[in-house]
Amino acid sequence: MPRVLNMWSTHQFWCGLFGALGIDRRNLVFSADTSEEQGRQFGKGRGTVDCCYPVKCIAGHYGELVFGQREKLDIVFSPMIYTVPSMLSGHVARTLTCPRVMAAPENIKGGFIKERDVFVEQGIRYVTPFVSLDEPKLVAKQLFEGGLREAIPGLTPSEMARAVEAGFLALRAFNNSLRKKSREVLEWCARENRACLLVLARPYHMDPGIGHEIEGDLQAYGYPVLWAQYFPTDPDLLEWAFGEDLRAGIIKSPFDIHDVWPSSYSANTNEILWGAKVAARIPWVACVVRLSSYECGMDQPTYTPVQQIVERSGTLFFSFQDLDSTKPAGSVKIRVETITHYLEKYAAAIIEKKKAAMPPGCPLPSQAAEKGPSASLAPSTAGST
């Protein structure tokens, strides 16, 4: 499986699914993290169009799987993920993925079959089912008919359905465990009155080659880093954050982003907007770091609203746009230093100001509360998977 795009937010689903189908975990091979070298070595000459960086890199991942594995692979499995499960179901309209995310397997395939069919040549079956992961009723049928029936001889529809269930269970468990960890970080921050950072990005920015490890560099300075996608969704916390807006009728649920973003149809975009709203309300989130890839069309319309949502609340906002247009290592270092400098200088004041603006009854432990062992967990808890 290529370690690309929304595989980053759904890989536990696939592991759970194939596990339930009796495929040994050791037989599931993911390509490596994205790197320039990977692209150079395996993807060269197979790109089909000029497009955003995360999609362009897929050719390298495919190439690595097809040509770079020491063991022979039987199947390259690269689903076309049309929708993704999102914690924001309810008052957001849709959970679609970006058109490039969903179509990338078809697009990248073009480069591998244009002269001769590389998959056939290498004796590899290319399986690319179209799958709506936010419509659980459909998933088993889509996977079964979309190539798994042929790829796994003897597979029956009921086995498929059971495997899908196992996949969802695994994914849910994984997401919940990360959210729980994020909650612990937040509680630690509240207890210690310490600042944390929130990353607003697409799930695949957790890939070091796509996100350029910015959050890792920030963590090295001792600031816990949270990802919006794994922000805790516990009712007590959301009630505290959004209760006033709910009662005022501005939103219909804590997951409603209609007040800031009327066109909610893309899951990852919605999550970024929601993350911005959360950041504006949670005092200990003193800084937001926004990551955006080169030529990202989905992010473009969101730049201003996201920045405004965050900055209106007095939270620091730093945006890394067009991440890959130049080799960013040097500039990232300088910016990371700038961010930490600002944090040192202003974090305490920001937290105080934001606390004052929030209603009483914060469910996160106050400073007076007993200090627990989880404080030590904080710096190592980025949402990276």
Binding site: A103, G110, P262, Y265, Q300, P301, R312
Partner: protein
């Protein structure tokens, strides 16, 4: 460092446009081509509104669009944002900003689809705000939500008769445009076609403006059964018949495909590609809006196909949807018949889907999805065009995906003349010279095909010309040359003459 305020950020929400304002407020819209815009204006006026069409976007608009909204926009967003901002700015210079916000509202289409289309309003809003026109009222017409009153007020009553009016307006102007592009390259008197088209569109404007009003459901039956529109189209057919043509000019046929906005507009946003191709000696096969809507219907119904056997009622909905789509296509065919069956028919959506299937999944939406691939193969296999000119907007998301998949198609059919043009708005020379290179090939093919047709029929050009001269009805723009074995108009005419002469063409 930003200063904290207790007021959270909220999205732009315009003040409603009320019924009481109807007589004093003008509804502004645009983004299509002039024929259909003029007719939609008539539909809005027929519904009791004042309406104005935005001018065609220009390069200055592109620059404004880039300047006033967030970076990284697709080229159509830049054009349309700048277009709106410059229009409103100009009006504000004339009337003052306050007066403009009172007297004008802007109406634009939205979508719930996968691309940026449904987020244009975000750029518009930012553009207006950055230009000091933040109070201007702009409304998004969601394609999937018929009742817009809650969101925009009851100033514009977008009721069923009005929606049907827009739909029928699209059908009629698609047909006129299609015939226009078949005729102009061959007209004997330069400018004659343009004059007839202008006259025809004005005629349609009057017809739609004076369309009898029917209440909601009766309006559907009336639109489907009335001879009101077929009569109008017959009259337009008659106007076209006055144009003399010389179809023995050998020209390659170039099918326009691509992203919706770029294939629809005619002007700077697509380097005036239609007119440019004609000037370079091609016959253009334009993209009909009706085809796009037929595709949307197909796409919507695929959902029910997926749920068939999984959810109760899905099959029923699919059946009902298929009936609606059949009625849609039947109605287009009916109107086309009134134009002597001359404009191109709607391609069969299932055929397009089948052709594209090995290269692009039919469930992927955004842009033209698999239709983009399907149309290229269809044009080639069904001999509809010598060349495909694909208009791909700079920074478009879905379009780049479909075009990437075309690499697989071209690997299998290297003989397809396919010109994907990246449209940036300001890199015209590069795009057009690329197009010209492929067009040169297409011209050679058209000529070869013509020569072969003459040889097969044992005729000379002079011989065919003499025959046509003897049968002056064949010189009329409305004379129907059957689409035979050839792609090009001239070659098909030779086959046709050969057949009339009793030779095998």
């Amino acid at each position: 460092m930003a200063t904290a305020t207790t007021e959270h950020y909220r999205a732009y929400s315009p003040k409603p446009f009320t019924r009481a304002e109807r007589d004093s407020v003008t509804v502004v819209f645009g983004g299509l081509h002039w024929r259909v815009e003029r007719v939609i204006q008539a539909v809005l006026e027929n519904g009791g509104n004042k309406a104005e069409v935005l001018p065609v976007a220009t390069k200055e608009d592109l620059l404004t669009g880039r300047e006033v909204a967030d970076i990284g926009q697709c080229c159509p967003t830049s054009f349309t944002t700048g277009n709106l901002v410059n229009f409103i700015k100009k009006k504000s210079d004339e009337l003052g900003a306050e007066e403009v916000t009172k007297k004008y509202v802007y109406l634009t289409a939205g979508s719930c689809g996968a691309c940026r289309f449904g987020q244009y309003h975000q750029s518009y809003e930012l553009g207006l705000r950055n230009s000091g026109l933040g109070a201007f009222r702009m409304f998004l017409l969601a394609q999937d939500q018929l009742d817009q009153k809650a969101a925009m007020g009851d100033g514009l009553d977008l009721n069923l008769p009005m929606t049907l009016g827009c739909l029928w307006g699209i059908f009629c102007t698609d047909l006129v445009q299609d015939l226009e592009y078949q005729v102009r390259p061959y007209e004997v008197g330069p400018g004659q076609t343009d004059a007839v088209v202008k006259e025809s569109v004005e005629y349609l404007y009057e017809m739609f403006r004076n369309r009898p009003r029917r209440d909601s459901w009766r309006s559907i039956t009336w639109h489907l059964t009335s001879s009101y529109f077929t009569k109008a189209l017959r009259e337009i057919h008659r106007k076209f018949s006055a144009i003399e043509v010389d179809r023995l000019r050998v020209k390659p046929t170039v099918k326009i495909t691509g992203e919706f906005y770029l294939q629809t507009v005619e002007g700077d946003p697509n380097y005036n590609i239609h007119r440019w191709l004609e000037a370079e000696g091609a016959e253009v096969y334009p993209a009909a809006i009706a085809v796009w809507m037929d595709y949307l219907l197909r796409l919507g119904l695929q959902r029910f196909e997926d749920y068939s056997g999984i959810e109760r009622g899905a099959r029923l909905k699919l059946g009902a949807g298929r009936v609606a789509q059949a009625i849609y296509r039947w109605n287009y065919a009916r109107l086309r018949r009134a134009m002597g069956d001359l404009p191109h028919e709607l391609p069969n959506q299932f055929e397009l889907r089948r052709l594209a299937a090995p290269y692009f999944n039919s469930r992927l939406d955004g842009g033209e999805g698999d239709m983009l691939v399907g149309k290229a193969l269809w044009s080639y296999q069904r001999k509809k065009a010598h060349m495909i000119c694909e208009l791909s907007p700079y920074s478009c998301m879905p379009n780049t995906m479909s075009i990437g998949a075309m690499a697989g198609v071209l690997g299998k059919y290297p003989e397809i003349l396919y010109a994907p043009l990246e449209i940036k708005g300001d890199a015209e020379v590069h795009a057009l010279s690329r197009c010209q290179m492929i067009l040169t090939e297409a011209k050679k093919r058209a000529q070869k095909e013509f020569d072969e047709a003459l040889a097969a029929a044992g005729l000379s050009l002079e011989g065919v010309r003499a025959y046509v001269d003897k049968h002056p009805e064949m010189k009329r723009a409305t004379y129907r040359v059957p689409h035979g074995d050839a792609v090009g108009t001239a070659a098909n005419l030779v086959h046709h003459v050969a057949q009339r002469l009793g030779r095998r063409g």
